[in-house]
Amino acid sequence: MSQTKRIIAYCCEHGGMGAAERAAKEQSQFASDVVIISVECLGRVDLLHLLQAFREGADAVFVAGCLEKNCHHLYGNVEARKKVDQAKRVLDSLGLGGDRAEMFNLASNQGLEFKQSVDIMIGRVERLGPNPLGAKK
């Protein structure tokens, strides 16, 4: 499937954003559209924000924040993982596929791993197909 995928990444200012910037500098271009939304801490990302992104037509949404036990704000990344797990359950019960949501723990120097995270999500969208709501936007 060669069509561009719409992927949203919520990144914390400390781990995720650093990794995304590093990826932008060091890695070859992403194979798809990745819209990066920067938040001070992943604790700010709520289940509502994840669902809103899908309603707006995102094919996949991931959350990237500090490594486990290394959150700049202590436990924002732990909270975010719970929200992502909730989102997966909602997406599964609506038939959209829980795999469209994911959480990655990245340090600010992990540009390669950020690129790999994007690739994982692209692979999942290829398997699940586009979000039907995307076509309507």
């Binding site: 709520d46 289940l47 509502l48 669902l51 809103q52 899908f54 309603r55 909602v90 019960s93 609506l94 038939g95 959209l96 039907p132 709501l133 309507k136």
Partner: protein
């Protein structure tokens, strides 16, 4: 407080089938504390329903409201403008709230989005336990402040059954034996003598067997004259 949990999303979608203009109504009191039906949950459930509607082409219009206490007419009256034009209210307050809405707005269907479970308390973040069965004849003064009616699986009133093992109830290793807890509490209070008190067979008439229970506070009931002077309430 009242403890409940949201019905599975799939079941809620099924219940809403055939309705189009839907108001999701939460309550800022008990069910907000047990993370089932407060303002935040109203927002998340509403967005999930919009997502379902968009995906399945339902054309639902989902609106949101959260009131201070959905079980009181005073608060429920205020949402009249929101109810206007809706064909269903999905209440995620407890069953009392859902019924209050139905009684006040008899032409709109009030549908339950929550399974109301019990009267309990948060014992640690995210964990809620039943604490009172509303038996109508409290015995906590004899049992060290621990309810034998709901915390003992058999509602025993005069000590544990033979299934009590190492402080746990025979129904499961997770469940403490209420009578072990009662013993420990009375010991702490220096009132082990209360274990000698023989609690007679319980009078269940004030409990839940004779239709809906009604409590009247005569001093608060309004006379005809008061009604006229203060206006209808």
């Amino acid at each position: 407080m009242i403890i409940g949990e949201q019905k599975p999303l799939k079941e809620i979608c099924d219940i809403l089938e055939g309705h189009h203009r839907i108001l999701v109504a939460g309550c800022r009191s008990c069910v907000a504390i047990c993370l089932a039906g407060g303002e935040k949950e109203v927002g998340i459930l509403s967005e999930s329903l919009r997502l379902h509607s968009d995906l399945a082409g339902k054309g639902w219009e989902i609106d949101e409201v959260t009131v201070e206490r959905q079980c009181e007419n005073e608060w429920v009256r205020e949402i009249a403008p929101k109810i206007e034009g809706k064909d269903a209210v999905l209440s995620i307050a407890c069953g009392v709230g859902a019924q209050t809405i139905q009684a006040m707005y008899p032409k709109v269907r009030s549908l339950p989005g929550l399974n109301t479970s019990n009267m309990g308390a948060p014992i640690e973040p995210g964990i809620f336990m039943e604490r009172c069965g509303g038996c109508g004849d409290c015995v906590l003064h004899l049992t060290g402040g621990i309810c034998p009616i709901v915390r003992c699986a058999k509602s025993l009133l005069n000590g544990p059954c033979g299934g009590s093992q190492n402080g746990k109830c025979e129904i499961g290793k997770e469940t403490p034996c209420a009578w072990e807890e009662i013993y420990q509490s009375l010991k702490e209070l220096g009132r082990l003598d209360l274990l000698e008190a023989n609690i007679p067979p319980k009078d269940w008439t004030p409990s839940r067997s004779g239709g809906p229970r009604k409590i009247v506070r005569p001093e608060a009931v309004m006379s005809e004259t008061e009604r006229q002077l203060r206006g209808e309430r």
